[in-house]
Symmetry: C2
Subunit: 109 residues, 2 copies
DNA sequence: TGAACATATGAGCAATCGTTCATATGATAA
DNA sequence: TTATCATATGAACGATTGCTCATATGTTCA
C-alpha cells in the first residue's frame, strides 16, 4: 500500500461489477482486438457472406478465416446459416456495429 | 478462391476503411481486451485516482498497474496530472465509458 | 458409391502479452 | 544533501495468440 485513501476505495469498489463480468468484458474485447477479425466484421457490415468470399476479400487463407470465425461465433458476434455446401455468416448483433463505431470515433477526432 | 462472388467483393471492398485504420481499430480494442485494464478503467469511472489507490483497489502490484496505465495512456484512454509526488489518472474520453457500456450490454442480454 | 467442393479442426511454431523483480526517476521534507 | 515516498521502466519468463499445414467433416452431383 502507500498513503491513506480514506473511504474512496470502499465507495468505488462497491460500484464495480463482479470479477466474473469484468473477466467476460475483457474476453469480449479481446475478440475485437485483432485486425483480421475486425476486417471480417467489416466485411459482414452490410450483408451476410460465405467463408470463401470473406477469405478472398481480406486476402487470408480459408483456414485462417474459419478459425477466426469460430472465435467470433463463440463470442456471439456472428451467426451462420448453411445453404448446401456453403455457409453464410452475418453479424449477430447491433452491438458489433456500435462498438466498432465508438472505437472509430475515438480514433478519428 | 472458390466459387464466383460476382460484384459483391468489389462493392464491399469499396466500403471498407483503409488498412491502417483497421489496424488502429484492432490495436485500440486490444487495450480493452485485458481484465486488469478493464478494472483500472472501471476504477476511474467516477473520478480520478492515484496509482497506488488503483493498485490497492484491484489487488495488483504498483508496477503492474503502472505498466498497464502506460498502455492505456498510449491509446489515449486515460490522462494524468501530477500533484506533488502523487500522479492522478482519469479517463480521458467519454468513448471509454460508451465502449465498455456497449460491451456490457452485449454480455447481459 | 465416389469425386469434387466448402468449411472445420488439430498440432505445431513464431510472435506477442502481462506479470514479476530489480532498479531508476522525480518530488518533498528535514 | 540525504532519506523517503510515489511512480516509471527495462529485462526476463511463462502464457496466450494467430497463422500454416495437413487432414477431417459434411454436402452435392454424377
Amino acid at each position: 500500500m502507500a498513503h491513506d485513501h480514506g473511504a474512496l476505495l470502499d465507495h468505488v469498489k462497491a460500484d464495480m461489477p463482479a470479477d466474473e463480468l469484468l473477466q467476460d468484458l475483457g474476453d469480449l474485447f479481446k475478440v475485437f482486438g485483432d485486425t483480421t477479425r475486425i476486417k471480417i466484421m467489416y466485411a459482414l457490415y452490410e450483408d451476410e457472406m460465405c467463408v470463401c468470399a470473406i477469405a478472398e476479400l481480406i486476402g487470408m487463407t480459408q483456414s485462417a478465416v474459419s478459425h477466426q470465425l469460430k472465435s467470433l461465433k463463440a463470442a456471439n458476434l456472428v451467426a451462420s446459416r448453411r445453404e448446401g455446401k456453403t455457409i453464410y455468416y452475418r453479424l449477430s448483433d447491433d452491438h458489433v456495429k456500435s462498438i466498432i463505431a465508438q472505437g472509430y470515433e475515438h480514433l478519428t477526432e
